[in-house]
Every structure is written in structure tokens, then in C-alpha cells.
Amino acid sequence: MEASTAPAGPAPGESLREFARGHPQAVAFSVIVLMVAILVGAYGLHEVAQSTLNGLTLGVVYALGAVGLTLVYGILRLVNFAHGDFLTFGAYMAYLVNVTWGMPLVAGIFFAMAATALLGFVSERVMWRPMRAKGAGWLHLMLMTIGLAFLIRSAVQWFWGTQIRTLDVNITDSVSFLGLRIGQTELVVVVVGIAVLLAVGLIVRFSLLGKQMRALSDDMALAETAGIDTRRVILYTWLFAGGLAGLAGVLSGALTSLRPELGFELLLPIFAAVILGGIGNPFGALTAGLVLGIATEWSTLVIEPRWKVTIGFVALIIALIIRPQGIFGRAKEI
């Protein structure tokens, strides 16, 4: 009878690499700290802090968009190219309430969230569930999302045309604190966004629905056998995703302006946040979205502002090449 010899100990240097592979968050965190240190050294604390604050407004939009998208992608393996147009839809719904009907922005926000949630809900009942029942693969579904994206965008263009519109928001007043300036609207965006993100985080972490969503994301078949009503959870996920997308759209529209391409322009950075955060991981998406927004703003310290839009894409490409499962995803053979 032959037994194998005891395994040899790890080679030097290999244990550090194993640590890095096992703790990507620590690596990412150290990288960010390093970046901050370099930027502060080069541009001064005030510049970096102001830049961070500006980036937060963008980050909040990315995070809201990413959380919804990652839940849908994780649970249904649906690459939803129409998600960007959900944002657009939300923005224009807010326009309808806020400008056309003259009501305050708050009402617009609620209406936008509800309308977009409904849109997500309807798409699930009418399109995704029947297609899944037919056994449609992810490519078929993705191509359908492209069709849906076209439909939503053309509807927006039909009713509101291509001209640039703005929400009825205060774009001139600003607030200062700690020597930093932030526009009044920007402040509202950040506050609302962070409040909602916190609420979402709490719901996903502690509520029954949140646990069920995470269970489905991990293993749909297992969740079914465990007795979870997957159909219901899926519907709630769509409501969630739609509502968050709608909010992201309104906030983005409030910060900039409304045009039919609004959502699509945000789509790829949002995908970047989803992938960086690990598909199906709402906390990862949230963090990655915020970091991505801030990093995009930081980039303007170093490169010309017109290039900052490329940051999202470059981050996405690098993420997929170095660590496709994301910073917060679990190590799997991809």
C-alpha cells in the first residue's frame, strides 16, 4: 500500500500572492489609498477633496444604476442593454411631472421611480418570463434587450423630440462647507442618492426579500428547492431595478440635461461598476459605482476634462482582463 508524501510548504513570495488573490478588497483598498496619497501630494488636499465631492454626484448615479443592473444580471443572467434606457425613461417621467405638470421635483422623483419600476415589471411579465419558459439562451435575451432599448428610446424621442430639455431645478445656487463648494442641486442629488443607497443596502442585507434575492443570485435551482417563491422574488427584483434606474435617471437629468441618449451614455460605466463589483453583488456594485464616479472626477486633475468619459470604459476593460469576477466577486475559474 502506497501513501503519498506530505505536501511541501509554500515557496517564498507565493504566500503573498495567495493572500492577494484571496483578499482582492484589501488590494483594491490599498491601491485607492495610494492613489489618494499621490493626488494629494501633487495637487493639494483641497483640490482632491473638491474633486471627490464632485465625483460623488456622478458616483451616486452610477451606483444606483449598477445596483439594479447587477441584481437582474446576477439572478437572471440577463445582460440588460435596455437598462440605460430605463434611466432615460425615468428622467423623462420626472420631466413630465416636474415641468409639464409643474409639480415639485420630489413628486417627479417618486413618479419616475414608480413608472420605471412598472416598466421593469411589465418587461418581465411580457418578455422575459415567457422567453425563459421557452428556454431562450442569454444571447437571444440580450438581443431582445437591444430591441427593447430601441423601443424605449424611440418612444422618448416620439413624445419629447431630440432637443435638449432641463428639469426645473436650481442650477445657480451653491452651498459651501469646510471650504468646499457644492451646487444646491448637486447636494440634493448626493443626499437623496446616498440615503436611497443606504436604504437599499439595509434591505438587501437584512430583510427577508434581500436574503431571498441573494439566494437566487447564488443558485436559482437551489433556491427553488429551498421553497423560495422565485417568481415573486424575480418580480420584486425588477421593481427594485426599475425604481433605482428611474431614480438614477432623474438625478442624472437634474445634474446635466435631458436628451434621448442620456441613459445609453451612462450604460457602459454602469456595466463597469457591475463587473468590478462582481456580478450579482449589490454591495460590490454600490461601492464600485461610487469609486468609479469619484475616480472619473479625479482623472480631470491629471488629464483634460474631455477625456474623462473614457475612464469608465478603460476601467471596465482593465477589470475584465485582470479580474473578471470583480473585486468583490468570488474566485471562480472564468
Partner: protein, 262 residues
């Protein structure tokens, strides 16, 4: 320690380690396979058999250790390179290519096809055509051996489960293997088909000196059709020997009763 391998060592595995995110699926496994033998790799669930199998065939990258096949080190080589050297594997869930006709499945597997290199399509068209003819003849002949000749033009997706298993074996043979690695060959098939597969295995061993290593849960097959049994538990090889010896080894009994049942 007696070395149960008689004859030339075709496969020599030493101290293979493979971890996934902190878990050591294979924790220093070693084994030997002699040419012309039929070796079974068994063990309770979670023992690391599948992972080791994947590392040996190149479908997963081992962290450490050595795998020598026909005298050459192959640990870390890409899966296709290992297959070309003669270590051909099948899959537990058959991978008969459903969207291709049966004959295409077979012709695909033939080695040394100049037509598979893009530039040869334009630089050496005659060599490409000649080899295609050869490959087609060989494929037809082999399909006959497995009683699949009539299905040659059908899409593999239209075959029954049993026929697909046979196709996968026939296809693997087209690749001219020296060592056939079978991943749970008996999984999900009826006993009569199982007997046919085992008969083919024995014939191939007797007529061509083909060597087999298979992962299996079916103890009847393991006990009655293998020369050597390798038992794994918790990522290591805990016992090696003839089926009767291994069955009585207390370490093995312990592993199966103490851990998850096979």
C-alpha cells in the same frame, strides 16, 4: 512500499496541489499508471477526484507538483497540447456536438490535419484534400465498429443518450490516444450499454494495448473491470492496489464511512 505498477509507467503523478480560493481540493496527490492497464480512480464525494482529473488533463492548472506523461512533464501545459500527446479525455455529461453531423464529430477528432491550419487551406490544398479523404474513411470504419455507421449523416443532437456515449468514445479513439481518461463513463446509462462500453474497453486493451484511467462511482464496475484501484480522500491518495486489496484496506473503509458516502 510495493509499486503495483507492472510494465512501463505511462503516467507518473507526484505531489499535485490545487487550491480554489483558500480550499485545497487536491492536497498532494501521487499515483502511477502502467501502460496497458485499466486503472480506476475512486473516492467519496469531495475527495478531489474530479479536480485531480482536470489537472492531469490540463483543464485546470495545478499549483504545484509533477505530472509526467510518457516521460514528459505536462503539468501546466494547455489541455489541447496534452490531448495531442495522447492523453484524451471524455466528459461525464457527454459532449457530443449536437449541431454537427455525426461524421463531422468523428472527423473533427482526427489528429494531424493540415487543413486545420488556416494558411494550409491556400498553400497546400492538395495535402488538405488527401488527408480529408483518409480521415473520412477512418471515421466511417470506426463508426461501423460501434454500430453507428447508419447515423453518419444525422446531426448528433438527434442521437439517443446511449448512442451519444458511444459516439463520444468512438470520437475519442479517432484522436489516437495512448491513455484514455474517462470521466464517469457509466454515469446515467443503462446496464446493457454499460456492458457494451466495458467490452469495447477490454477489446481495445487486448488488441491495441490501450491504457485506461477512469473516475467512477459504480463499485461493481470498479471491482470487476479494473486492474488497479486508486482511492482518494480529502485531496490525497490514501490507498492503491488491486481491487480486492483496496476493498479491505481499513483506511478506505474509514474514508467511505467516516466521510460522505460514495
Amino acid at each position: 512500499m510495493t509499486d503495483p505498477v507492472r510494465g512501463e509507467r505511462l503516467l507518473d503523478v507526484d505531489g499535485v496541489v490545487k487550491s480554489f480560493g483558500g480550499i485545497r481540493a487536491v492536497d498532494g496527490a501521487s499515483l502511477r499508471v502502467g501502460r496497458g492497464s485499466i486503472t480506476a480512480l475512486i473516492g467519496p464525494n469531495g475527495a478531489g477526484k474530479t479536480t485531480l482529473f482536470n489537472v492531469l488533463t490540463g483543464f485546470q492548472r495545478g499549483d504545484r507538483g509533477s505530472v509526467r506523461f510518457a516521460g514528459e512533464e505536462v503539468l501546466g501545459r494547455p489541455a489541447y497540447a496534452i490531448a495531442r500527446r495522447g492523453m484524451v479525455r471524455t466528459f461525464q455529461i457527454t459532449k457530443a456536438l449536437a449541431a454537427m453531423p455525426v461524421i463531422d464529430n468523428m472527423m473533427l477528432a482526427a489528429p494531424e490535419q493540415p487543413g486545420e491550419r488556416f494558411r494550409n487551406l491556400f498553400l497546400r490544398p492538395r495535402a488538405v484534400r488527401a488527408r480529408e479523404r483518409e480521415v473520412r474513411e477512418e471515421a466511417v470504419r470506426l463508426l461501423e465498429v460501434f454500430d453507428l455507421g447508419e447515423l453518419a449523416a444525422d446531426y448528433a443532437g438527434t442521437l439517443s443518450g446511449g448512442q451519444r456515449k458511444l459516439l463520444e468514445l468512438a470520437r475519442a479513439l479517432m484522436a489516437r490516444p495512448t491513455l484514455l481518461m474517462l470521466d464517469e463513463p457509466m454515469a446515467g446509462i443503462n446496464p446493457s450499454l454499460g456492458r457494451r462500453l466495458l467490452d469495447h474497453m477490454q477489446t481495445l486493451r487486448a488488441e491495441q494495448g490501450m491504457t485506461f484511467l477512469f473516475v467512477e462511482h459504480d463499485m461493481e464496475v470498479v471491482m470487476n473491470h479494473s486492474d488497479t484501484v486508486v482511492v482518494m480522500a480529502e485531496g490525497r491518495v490514501i490507498s492503491v492496489g488491486e481491487p480486492q486489496q483496496v476493498r479491505e484496506d481499513p483506511a478506505v473503509v474509514d474514508a467511505y464511512l467516516g466521510g460522505a458516502a460514495a
